[in-house]
Symmetry: C2
Subunit: 228 residues, 2 copies
Amino acid sequence: MNILITSGGTSEKIDQVRSITNHSTGQLGKIISEQFLDAGFSVTLVTTPTAIQPNVHPRLTKVIINDVAELQTVLEKETPTHQLLIHAMAVSDYSPVYMSGFQAVKETPNLEQFLHQTNQESKISSEEDYQVLFLKKNPKLISWVKTWNPEIRLVGFKLLVDVSQNQLLSVARASLEKNQAEMIVANDLSEIQDGKHRAYLVTKDAVQIAETKLEIAQEIYRHITNKG
Amino acid sequence: MNILITSGGTSEKIDQVRSITNHSTGQLGKIISEQFLDAGFSVTLVTTPTAIQPNVHPRLTKVIINDVAELQTVLEKETPTHQLLIHAMAVSDYSPVYMSGFQAVKETPNLEQFLHQTNQESKISSEEDYQVLFLKKNPKLISWVKTWNPEIRLVGFKLLVDVSQNQLLSVARASLEKNQAEMIVANDLSEIQDGKHRAYLVTKDAVQIAETKLEIAQEIYRHITNKG
């Protein structure tokens, strides 16, 4: 079984010197990669430049990407030759479209025009006291995975912040169905700290709880190999 | 002489999972730190979590910060006990104030109200096709350095993108005067690649050109110790 894993967080450029970044150390993706490598599988890890990386391994191939557009290209190419995707990457929801000084925005009757402009500057000017950044929703790549490879097994992730356990599980179950995943690993940022990482591994008929990144990796591994 | 050096790039949070980050590897600040450590000076390095770090050294003290507010606190505390500040950090020009769906912005007659709101959510919702982020200018900390310590020697940096050499030098000279710096290291992102890093070291009566990060560090060192 060839395994495709994503880790780290994507960045979307505002201009040549600034971007919007989704936080993710890459630590969990590293541990999951090592879990499968140690068990003899081949792993393709799609990750980001600042993410923590697994050690070099003869059965590990790394692909470094920066943003959602690059991630899409890589996933579209790699999913057909892999039998499992574990999509742990923190993917940017939105990408910058246009940045403007506040005054120009305030004086423009039709704000829609800013959704179809592009900054020509390489480094956007920083004179005005306030600026306005217009952002466009990125495609949800996880929902396209099965169109690229209907046979691939899919483990998705859902990170929320400060929600109830019920809400977290409900969002995870919706994602499970919508994306035809066999597992969604649901976690709340407020339960990730000091070496602890609580996660709910949600499948169609069960919920497993893990308390550390290593337990998450082990539970995913057990689930995949028991059913594989 | 106690030397204060800043390196890396600051990040300003949009919410608990996203931020706007200024790109900087921290490599130049690392090399400058090593130049002064090797020569027997004590260095306090103010840097960011993902920046490349110098090796551990008995005369090196590191302070890790994330955003401009934290940088301000540290600089205000540290400048009075240092004789030189080399401010190589890429500092965020703007910080997020409020993020809203596009529809709500479009339907609000008085856009100023968004400049005085705060998001209550820990993770801002990602349902709408377009979002709007309002940003406020950060204080230019370099202009406050001499008020915290009028005696401190100051080396500033200016990064522009795709400008003429004349424009770069003119912006550097303006910064030299405005911030009462004794040197501004001016560079253009388009001239930083593949191990090369062209910089113009602008002082009141001269311009030195350096072609690599090591040359930049050596030229700063030579200037400081010749005049010290």
